[in-house]
Symmetry: C2
Subunit: 590 residues, 2 copies
């Protein structure tokens, strides 16, 4: 199995205390046992249904035949099994047949799926995200028509934002929606990079499409959100709705998921339903995007962990060379896990991937607090903190889990470069994560240009409060070195933030990426401090297996603190100087 | 074209002063014009013969059919054209039909080939390396039989070191050579990861194989070197020599080059010729390996530059979004090269790839000085400096050019993730370079465990002398900030070296990778300082195109100094503390 289930339990139950959610109204029918059972089921499902065809669905990517994207039978079978097991509705309301699982627990399950086969899993996650959007903003009729078949896994969903000329800049989309006499709209335009945009798996596909109404104001304030099914519902059943597959993109990885160029309304017969109020499309879509951004971060972290587990397994088995202190060539070779430089590459993977994973699950728990905490103040604060952290969750996790995947390949040496071993596939699958749902550069602009200063900087205030509290707890557990290092990083984060906030927008934003890294490293060190605290407190009474696990956590926390965290000071110095190297570089100098 | 020819001229002629080699005996028939012509020819050749089938030879990788590796007609055609153009003998002795080009100029030509199509080019480079080895250590008869057809490009060469169970640890090879009555040897064993190990391009394949004689002492001191042709030369022509293709590896990239598992002597009929003295094989092979290590570094740098050029081209053309200071959505979009964060990603690529390129060409020039300088002291010093720098050239260049390739993909966003654009292919091709010819981890052990202390630390002494001289020259040109920063880095390098040399071998070597990075960053900053000095001196009289180019060089030097070089202090602090985090991590804690 490509994820360490013990680590998952540690993160979900020991660090983030999933059981404490049981007293919330929404989760009252659950117990720790149901949480553990569903997690166990997910791991089992991932192992039996998803992992076996991961490589195959990369080798035999979807084909466009007779205007339809055709996917492998194995991909279909796995999704039908996922549907039959009820996973599409795991976090949904009981009213719609859902299990009402906490986001924290459900995302832990999703991580198992994504580590085992992101290509196949993505169809389900996109469907769940689209369903949530309809649940939040759709009319009762829309919910009745679309929500139930989606949560039953019979119809799949997509999000259609980008167009060939408008990727990061949604302001510039061309898709148009013209009112019909019956209250529906006629949609026309082309949408690019649509994951799951076409397939022959589900009975229908529900596209959530951004388009502009004829009277739309310029810019993002003129974007509306529409439901555009591939087949529309008529009295006589499902009828084609003039959504054509114009082409499939041929990707580096994540090939199990189709990625399509779609053409809407070529024959003038594409019927769309407006979701919510006109011109509110982008704000509404952001619900799905924010959810998806956490999902992308989580997917990155999961693949980072998968690469770690896979290279760890190899390093335990592969014999090669001898330790520096042994010069006898006739002595047996050692397993490469005994070489310090291999341990470095494994520790780095562990520190980066499990750190990212911890942050993603922490954010997932904030989603629960934001949605279900009985105290409105706590709900609001969780929302504000989540807002601040979402770009970090997305960008840091995907950037550094990809770095971990590079190391996984390296641990395997020549074998890592072959398609017979998993790490190269994890890398290729993961490479999309720093790009989609807003590139990591865009995330850093969102963080520094919007989130940090938003609502009087409440996000940063709350973050500091949380970290300070955890540092106190860590000190009480005797973790002074790690605490000191984190405290220093927090102080650099604050002074750097103040300096940048005082700069002109162009100077400030020219430094956005390293700012995101600076805050990201600080936040990950905080996650490791919490892991180290829990490990320290549990060690004295732990079984010998658990003790080894906890010692590993402590050692990885030390690794992150010594090898990674010092970069915060370096970035702080660079950004504190209001560097203009990138800003002043001229186009014709390149 | 995937390399910037202007930059190549700058590096070869303006910084490294190729013309100054003209007074050497070996190069006396050349002129600056012949150097420039051959460079021009190489770029033209790369563009016409190599680049066009780069993607195709990745998509349609070699197949094993009837026991032979079959390659694309396009690959063959390009190599026949390379042969006909005389490129195989470009740096070889006149006596064997060679042009006696300086290594510096020839490596610049090779960089153009490797940036355009590393898969196809590799056959030629391996052949040249193998030919050089026979030239150095072979008998006259061996030279007569093998050298000429190889330099004529009719026979290709390979190096056969690794075995399935012995990759990094050559001590543990099993291949055996038993003396025959006629002075030849019967070879048996399996060799893994053999680039160009089989193909249907050349008339014959000359394998240079490491194997052990029956009386061999244990360890690397018992390894001998053999010539093992695929077809042996008999009175009646070429006859099969019992070298069987056991399988082809299926790789992440570099697919144009076959990569084979070979089985020697399965039928007891594999005839080998000993090269040089018995048990001297590894020392001899190191000539080819050192040459190959510089070649691998150069290949990495070339692909880093190719990704840079390709993403730069995209950034100049792709319109997306507006600058932070413009909030008017009805204004036209800008080319993404105007966004600071895109400039950051381009500058980083430029600083890393062109920096690596500069170091590789500097090392190539050291090869010339080592081989052809009239003063024996200078020859010796060039050799000692080259010895020290070779692991840095190999590992730093491949590690950081790969990081550049990640950024190239990122600049293209979603398009970068598709196989319609070059960056993902550059990345996949380049991913082998940190692995083969000794993994980067092995390079760092070689650097810190052998090279630094070798011959009383003469390499470090010479390096310091060279850098100090160049800092003086840079200060004279007014480059005080860059000089100060480099001087500080050199000082950290020295103190870190001293501290590590005082530690136990296991503590010292546990920190080898970051030591290589520390020294590598210092050396690259030095290369950038030299580029900045030349640019500064030429700026006042430069044409406007040249002025833009020189300003770009200065800006990239600033970028490297501000964004990358400070990491030296960070690594210095970590290593100066004789960190034991990796060393003390236990296997069962992972």
């Amino acid at each position: 199995m490509s994820l360490n289930q013990r680590d998952m339990q540690f993160q979900v139950f020991e660090v983030l205390d999933a059981a404490s959610l049981l007293n919330r109204e929404r989760f009252k029918d659950h117990s720790s046992v149901t949480f553990e059972d569903i997690l166990e089921m997910s791991f089992e499902f991932a192992k039996r249904q998803l992992e076996p065809h991961h490589r195959l669905s990369d080798t035999l990517e979807p084909q466009m035949i007779d205007g339809t994207a055709r996917v492998l039978p194995e991909v279909k079978a796995a999704l039908y099994a996922m549907r039959d097991a009820g996973f599409f509705a795991a976090a949904a309301d009981e009213e719609y047949g859902g299990l009402q699982l906490p986001n924290l627990v459900w995302n832990a399950c999703q991580a198992a799926f994504m580590a085992s086969n992101p290509g196949t899993s993505s169809y389900a996650f996109l469907t769940v995200g689209a369903a949530n959007l309809i649940r939040s903003f759709g009319t009762d009729a829309q919910k009745e028509t679309y929500l139930r078949p989606m949560l039953e896994g019979r119809w799949f969903g997509t999000m259609c934002l980008s167009e060939p000329h408008a990727g990061s800049s949604l302001t510039d989309i061309h898709a148009r929606a013209t009112p019909n006499a019956d209250g529906t709209y006629a949609l026309s335009g082309r949408k690019m990079w649509i994951s799951g945009g076409d397939q022959d798996i589900s009975e229908n596909i529900v596209h959530l499409v951004l388009a502009k109404l004829p009277d739309a104001p310029a810019g993002v304030k003129g974007i509306s959100l529409f439901i555009v099914p591939k087949h529309r519902v008529t009295a006589s059943g499902l009828e084609p709705n003039d959504v054509a597959l114009a082409g499939l993109n041929h990707k580096l990885g994540a090939r199990g998921t189709t990625n399509a160029l779609l053409s809407f309304g070529e024959r003038g017969d594409c019927v769309a339903e407006l979701v919510g109020a006109p011109h509110q499309g982008l704000a509404q879509m952001f619900q799905m995007m924010n959810e998806a951004r956490i999902g992308v971060g989580l997917g990155g972290a999961a693949l980072g962990c998968a690469g770690y587990v896979s290279s760890l397994e190899y390093a335990r088995e592969r014999e090669q060379g001898r330790l520096p202190t042994n010069k006898d060539p006739s002595s047996p070779q050692v397993n490469i896990i005994q070489h310090s430089d291999v341990k470095r590459m494994l520790l780095a993977q562990k520190a980066l991937s499990e750190g990212a994973f911890a942050l993603c699950l922490y954010a997932s728990r904030l989603v629960d607090d934001h949605g279900t905490h009985p105290d409105a103040t706590v709900r609001g604060e969780a929302g504000a903190l989540l807002d601040l952290l979402t770009p970090v969750v997305k960008a840091w996790s995907t950037h550094y889990s990809l770095e971990a995947n590079v190391l996984a390949i390296q641990v395997l040496g020549g074998y890592g470069y072959t398609r017979e071993y998993a790490p190269e596939l994890y890398y290729r699958d993961n490479r999309i994560n720093p790009i989609h749902e807003g590139t990591n550069g865009i995330q850093s602009l969102d963080l520094l240009g919007r989130k940090v200063a938003q609502n009087g900087g409440i996000g940063m205030t709350l973050l500091t409060r949380e970290i300070d509290g955890d540092i106190k707890a860590a000190r009480a557990a005797g973790l002074n070195d790690l605490s000191d290092a984190l405290e220093a990083a927090v102080s650099v984060a604050h002074s750097t933030t103040r300096t940048l906030m005082g700069a002109s927008p162009d100077v400030m934003l020219a430094n956005s990426w390293h700012y995101l890294e600076l805050l990201g490293h600080t936040v990950i060190a905080w996650q490791w401090l919490n892991a180290a605290r829990v490990a320290t407190l549990k060690l004295p009474t732990a079984s010998s297996d658990d003790a080894a696990f906890y010692k590993g956590k402590l050692h990885a926390a030390t690794y992150f603190t010594r090898f990674e965290l010092p970069k915060v000071a370096l970035w702080g110095k660079l950004l504190g100087s209001l560097d203009t190297t990138t800003l002043t570089m001229q186009e014709n100098w390149f």
